[in-house]
Symmetry: C2
Subunit: 467 residues, 2 copies
């Protein structure tokens, strides 16, 4: 690995402005690792810097602790900053801890203030203070530190609005004043009233193409939506998605414009929320594919323990019918069939409901319709699957009665699956809870328990004919 | 419901330019429904049009067939177009079928060509042809119809690039030429070489703030990535996400710039892909919360049927041990405990792997690390849960041996869960398959089968001491 062919190195040195292909990125990353293993740190850094910061961040994450230290030591603040920007704040903080406080400060100075604030939040407080003390742009970051990460305040960059009676030329000057493409470009100017409240917006495109003397009031479009600094990022993502905004205005308590959130940043939020929903449904906390062992254990252990309790509830139901099973052991054979089908049916409905709610597609009115509809689908699927399974079991075990009992239990359990799958997340939301959290555990417990009750209960009623 | 207080109606008529609040939207939608039920269609349309098109689309979707027909008849093409734009292409096509072909044509003329092409794709072919024949902008849409919906070609709008030796002023003129804000604003001009291949980009912001004589070559930044017209939308979304692009260049077979994809459109793709992953994992096709009954049945039936087969595989394993269960019926009680814990453990790992792959966080190198790590987590969690469950079962059933057997089976099954949960999606990907499809069914089948084999197998070995 320490060897890298000459041609490869030449290619890397020329690679900068070319169009990125996945293979090239892999090759370069491999070359960086080769240089690092050969302790040729200077060459490693040079190769690393030919990559896009997103790819650089991946290489840094994948490196061992020692390699990472060597890399960072050889990079200057201007080179470290874009890497920090690409990492999750927690990972960025971990990298920043390898640097001297003054280097952290210079790197943070290079970043957009909202990104710097997120990283400072993730650092231990003494290191955050040391870094902040060394920053020359501290006064832009400090106002953002008061807002939690996942609120509009934590996501926004500060902006000024243009008065509606300003001209296009003046609005362009305002943009120039705020400009510096490194800190996230705004493509919109907000128009504000006398009290600084946002009333409309003009795209920079529209300003650039307008006559210089045109009035902002004539160019602007009415504001679709705004949020206040305390609004949750999910709420922001929903508004941006729904109204197709490229930038979302943020106001303070008195309604005056204080900042703007770039829709691009919220795209990440919407995608991250989808991941979180999936994780919550599967019974996990926040976790990423190769986070630390301890974090993974912490993220999953509570749900594994909760699930253990609920499987014991299902076990309790079976235990009520132990004497029935002692007489007809074949009943035990079909336990996973009843439970498994109910579980997948409930999970299907649940997934639909949780996703629909997350995307704002299910209001209260549609919630009721969904419940009725999923119950009806349960009747339909239950009848179909019940008939199928009854036939299969009757042929296999040579007992039409056992088949009938299994079929009826499956029919009932699919209806339970539809009702519970839609009802649990709707009820959780009405109670002000997150509809995704632990709902899969509740739903599969319900289908396990009801399935076993129906199947073994019916079998107990007919035990004399079955045995 | 047919009554709407005077004050409410006044509010609705004034509502246009105000900042939208969720409650106002609900109230207005309610008012529209009231008007419709009272057959006051004119007022219904007027109230509807005070809403944002996204909210209008919701009201149209929620309306009964009859109400929908009445609403659409009273709206003109210019008013229908934004509603069509907000709907999914399939829903938009369903609405369009209620309109006369010439009205469909005028509505499609108002839309961005890529959106119009999507709706035409979703219409029955005779109606699509009739609509196309009536469109005055047909020549912009026809070239897009050759590309499937979910490819770069189907998502792009056509653009021209600026030569690198052009001036900022000329680039602005080019933008003016392409401009018409109704068809999706571009905030970037691509610079092309002599063969029309994209080599860089300049933001409109940079052009607007530059000296008019500045050269595009001096203003531009190197291109990060481009795709060809056949690239899958997932690939596009991944590039945009990874490199934080606001617009992605699309090239034809010879590498020349032919179009651009707005990152905003891909945000929806990334979120939709996350939903699709969730749906596929839960065993569903494409479906939305209140799609037609038939579509839901079709989306779920194949997976329910497949799952039925796999539960019968688990049943087959139990059936191998029927005589053991006949001697110790208490064994049946713990079947859902072994299967349930293995299932959730496997699903946790699987969710992590599928999401990580979808977000491009797991390459081949990390795939191997993930597999090792998840197996190790299985050992850890298995030891912990196994001990816990052994103790619980021993106390409950008064049999330390039964507890030990259950604990050992759980220990083994958690390791299986980790290996299979990571291994199945990695193997599916290596085989060129979608790692999400049906992987949950495979993983839970594996944990069911292995769990039952371990638990009942060990119990059979020790049956003389258990009975």
């Amino acid at each position: 690995m320490a060897e890298t062919p000459e041609s490869e190195r030449e290619r890397i040195e020329e690679a900068g402005p070319a169009v990125v292909s996945g293979q090239m990125v892999e090759d370069t990353a491999e070359a960086v690792r080769g240089f690092l293993e050969g302790e040729r740190v200077g060459e490693a850094v040079r190769a690393l810097l030919t990559l896009h910061p997103a790819d650089q961040a991946d290489v840094v994450l994948d490196a061992t602790g020692e390699e990472r230290g060597a890399l960072l030591e050889a990079m200057d603040a201007a080179a470290v900053a874009p890497v920090l920007e690409e990492l999750e704040p927690e990972d960025a903080a971990e990298v920043a801890r390898l640097l001297a406080p003054e280097d952290v400060a210079s790197a943070l100075d290079e970043l957009a203030p909202d990104v710097a604030a997120d990283i400072l939040h993730a650092l231990p407080s003494d290191q955050a203070e040391a870094a902040l003390a060394g920053m020359s742009e501290a006064e832009e970051v400090i106002p953002l530190l008061q807002y939690p990460d996942e609120t509009a305040g934590g996501l926004m960059s500060r902006v000024s609005g243009a008065r509606a009676d300003a001209t296009a030329e003046m609005a362009l000057d305002l943009l120039r004043l705020m400009a510096s493409e490194e800190r996230g470009a705004t493509n919109v100017v907000f128009a504000v009233d006398d009290d600084g409240r946002p009333v409309g917006y003009v795209s920079i495109r529209r300003i650039a193409l307008a006559r210089p003397r045109a009035l902002v009031a004539d160019l602007m479009r009415p504001l679709q939506a705004s949020v206040d600094t305390g609004a949750d990022q999910e709420e922001c993502a929903r508004l941006v998605e729904r109204y197709d905004l490229s930038e979302l205005a943020v106001t303070n308590a008195s309604g005056a414009l204080v900042g703007v959130i770039d829709a691009e940043d919220l795209r990440d939020v919407a995608v991250a929320e989808a991941s979180e929903d999936m994780f919550r449904m599967a019974g996990m906390g926040k976790e990423r594919p190769l986070s630390s062992f301890r974090r993974s254990v912490r993220s999953r252990a509570p749900w594994l323990a909760l699930n253990l309790l609920t499987t014991f509830a299902a076990a309790g139901v079976i235990s009520m019918f132990e004497s029935t099973i002692a007489r007809v052991a074949a009943l035990a054979v079909f336990l996973p069939v009843v439970a498994g089908q109910g579980g997948i049916g409930g999970t299907q409905t649940l997934t639909l409901a949780v996703r629909g709610m997350a995307l704002g597609e299910i209001g209260a009115r549609r919630g009721r319709r969904l419940l009725v509809r999923e119950a009806a689908l349960g009747v339909f699927n239950g009848a179909f699957l019940g008939a199928l399974v009854a036939l299969g079991a009757a042929l296999w075990q040579g007992s039409p009665l056992l088949g009938l009992i299994l079929g009826l239990a499956m029919f009932g359990n699919m209806i339970v699956a539809g009702v519970v799958g839609a009802g649990v997340p709707l009820a959780l939301r009405r109670l002000g809870q997150d509809p995704a959290v632990s709902s899969a555990v509740v739903v599969t417990t319900a289908t396990d328990v009801m399935g076993f009750l129906l199947f073994l209960g019916l079998a107990t009623l007919a035990i004399d004919r079955l045995a």
